[in-house]
């Protein structure tokens, strides 16, 4: 187990460096001069531009910039934005909000998706199954931002049930509607995965054995069918946490949430590499850790899977 964990974490190291290098290069390749853009229409004096370039390491070749950035990260310094704000501070203000939003979306899609998927899988071909399938197809087919606008308008403005925007008022109720919008598409995927998996396991030999030895229907479904059906679903959910955090950019825009998406979008527009790379790197780390957690969960769900090598 410990050796397995160590090997997995070791393998994450090249992924970490590869991802940062790729992203740093993409920001480097962005057109336009970020220093000249700071001056706007009035322009900026040559001396000041040179000073700023030196201050932000923009006068050095690409690979030197990247290595200086890495050196900063390893000593806990994430760099400074063009406005003079430390990137670390930016991280501390943006990530908690988005993390809470993504976790709520994940809980929403897991609870509703697995629940509805289980019932649909148990009654494959019946009315409930057909209805749920059509709904899931519609949710996938309609873009997230359309769902977002319509929900915001109907639930927030017309009915006034939930706050219309979040802004600085970050709470469970204000994040409820954004979380549902963010998790909508994944909810449909979770539902379909669970349904297929449950329907397949229902006719498996071990389920017949469980029924034959006299277990109640409830126990057969909860312990034998559901537990075995959850493995593909957990895989999806694990990969989804990172995608939810990075993909929240649209949802955050609609509901005016000051999270990772908006900050990152602004930084990309400014061509500020340290912010973009730091934010994306944290997203990559979240992705790697979530996938590792999923692999460890396999062993808990399926006793046949063991990691002691």
């Amino acid at each position: 187990m410990v050796r397995y964990l160590g090997r997995r974490l070791l393998q994450a190291v090249p992924v970490f460096f590869g991802a940062t290098l790729l992203i740093y290069f993409m920001v480097f390749a962005l057109p336009g001069d970020p220093v000249l853009a700071l001056g706007g229409d009035r322009g900026i004096s040559d001396a000041l531009a040179a000073q700023l370039r030196e201050q932000y390491n923009l006068d050095k070749p690409f690979i030197v910039q990247y290595l200086l950035y890495l050196q900063g990260i390893l000593t806990g310094d994430f760099g400074t934005t063009f406005a003079g704000r430390p990137v670390g501070e930016l991280i501390a203000s943006a990530f908690p909000v988005t993390f809470q939003l993504a976790l709520m979306a994940l809980a929403f899609e897991a609870i509703l998706g697995i629940g509805a998927g289980l019932v649909a899988g148990l009654r494959k071909g019946k009315l409930f199954d057909a209805t749920v399938l059509v709904v899931s197809l519609l949710v996938i087919a309609v873009p997230t931002f359309v769902i977002g606008f319509v929900l915001q308008f109907v639930v927030g403005v017309r009915w006034g049930w939930l706050p219309v925007t979040v802004g600085s008022n970050v709470s469970f109720t204000s994040l409820l509607m954004p979380a549902m919008v963010l998790g909508a598409v994944s909810f449909a995927y979770v539902l379909r995965l669970t349904r297929t998996s449950v329907a397949e396991n229902l006719s498996a030999d071990f389920v017949r054995t469980a029924t034959a030895k006299g277990l109640s229907r409830r126990r057969v479904v909860n312990v034998h069918v559901l537990r075995n059906s959850l493995i593909p679903v957990i895989t999806f959910l694990g990969a989804d946490l990172g995608a939810l955090m990075g993909g929240a950019i649209v949802t955050e825009g609609i509901f005016n949430i000051h999270g990772v998406g908006g900050t990152l979008f602004a930084a990309i527009r400014q061509g500020h590499a340290p912010t973009v790379v730091s934010f994306t790197t944290i997203l990559v780390i979240v992705y790697i850790l979530a996938n590792l957690l999923v692999d460890l969960l396999y062993a808990a769900l399926d006793p046949r899977i063991r990691y002691d090598d």
């Binding site: 057109p31 197809l137 087919a141 397949e200 994306t280």
Partner: protein
């Protein structure tokens, strides 16, 4: 050629305590009727036979054919120029010749919905092709050669998988700020969309790598690479096709999302994503402006996802039995 009389049913004799289940009976006539000279049906022929019987397949096929026709020949479906706009008609309701009404700029919504199909369908189809080729190549090579080669390729896949698609697209589209068109959108979605297919292809190739027919091909003198291309990839194609069909729908949605963020197609290109994003400003006063492009987009995506579903069911013998 004698057919069996009535097959033995579950008749319990008076002295019998338990009832014996009836055996599966195949009558001699049925056995004789099988034509042994005919080659066994391939996976694809079987799948086609199964598909033909499904309503879902025909409904989705009809939607796809319609959308593709509209995308190829928009002039056949709409006479109005989508760029001809009269401000006095701003947000006007439906009238004769303009069944969907007018948007904020006074353009005919019906014409814009028809002409917008081209961008969406082109992006969807081209991206899927690019992703399928890239993903199959990388995944198949990694799964086939294994070892350190597999480790390196899998980690590269991880890197591209870990960077969120929307973010990567934002970055790359900013690089192409000056000349954005359908092809740049395809490039962005393709370059960051292939890892999903690569994983599927790797798994599928590894699944058939040790099959008897592969050993047979090798022992008949086929080179490793020829075995991969001629025997392994064709046999691993089914899951790739299914994933790609569903992905096609999601790429269309992704294009709309990029246009919505203002980093997709330029505003001069008529597209559903662009129209939806301009319509959201008038959602409160004129919901119909949002409804038609969003509805057309949803219908198209629905067509491709349902096709993917139908093909998967037809290709998967386990799902077919039930």
């Amino acid at each position: 050629m004698t057919t069996d009389p009535t097959p033995p049913g579950p008749v319990a004799r008076p002295d019998q305590e338990h009832q014996v289940a009836p055996p599966d009976v195949v009558t001699l006539g049925e056995v004789d009727a099988v034509d042994e000279t005919e080659a066994p049906a391939s996976l694809w022929v079987e799948a086609w036979r199964e598909l033909r019987r499904r309503v879902l397949f025909w409904v989705s096929a009809a939607i796809i054919v319609l959308v593709v026709l509209v995308a190829l020949f928009p002039g056949l479906f709409a006479r109005q120029d989508p760029r001809y706009c009269v401000l006095t008609r701003s947000l006007g309701g439906p009238e004769a010749g303009h069944p969907f009404g007018f948007d904020f700029q006074g353009c005919d919504i019906y014409a814009r919905t028809i002409f917008g199909a081209q961008a969406s369908v082109t992006v969807g189809v081209l991206t899927t092709l690019l992703v399928a080729i890239l993903g199959t190549a990388v995944g198949a090579l990694a799964g086939f050669y294994g070892g350190w080669f597999d480790t390196v390729l899998s980690r590269v896949t991880d890197i591209f998988f870990a960077v969120p698609l929307v973010l990567a697209a934002v970055m790359v589209m900013s690089i192409f700020r000056a000349n954005r068109n359908v092809l740049t959108v395809v490039l962005v979605l393709g370059v960051f969309g292939w890892p999903q297919i690569a994983r599927i292809a790797r798994g599928a190739v590894m699944g058939v790598k040790n099959a008897d027919f592969v050993t047979a091909a090798r022992s008949l003198g086929a080179s490793r690479f020829a075995t991969l291309v001629r025997h392994l990839i064709p046999n691993a194609l089914a899951p790739i096709i299914v994933t790609a069909t569903v992905a096609l729908g999601t790429f269309i949605v992704a294009e709309a999302t990029l246009s919505f963020l203002g980093i997709g197609l330029p505003s001069t290109t008529v597209s559903w994503g662009g129209d939806i994003s301009t319509a959201q400003g008038q959602l409160r006063v004129a919901p119909h402006v949002l409804f038609y492009p969003a509805g057309a987009l949803a219908l198209t995506v629905l067509g491709f996802i349902m096709m993917g579903d139908a093909v998967r069911d037809a290709l998967d013998p386990k799902a077919r039995k039930r």
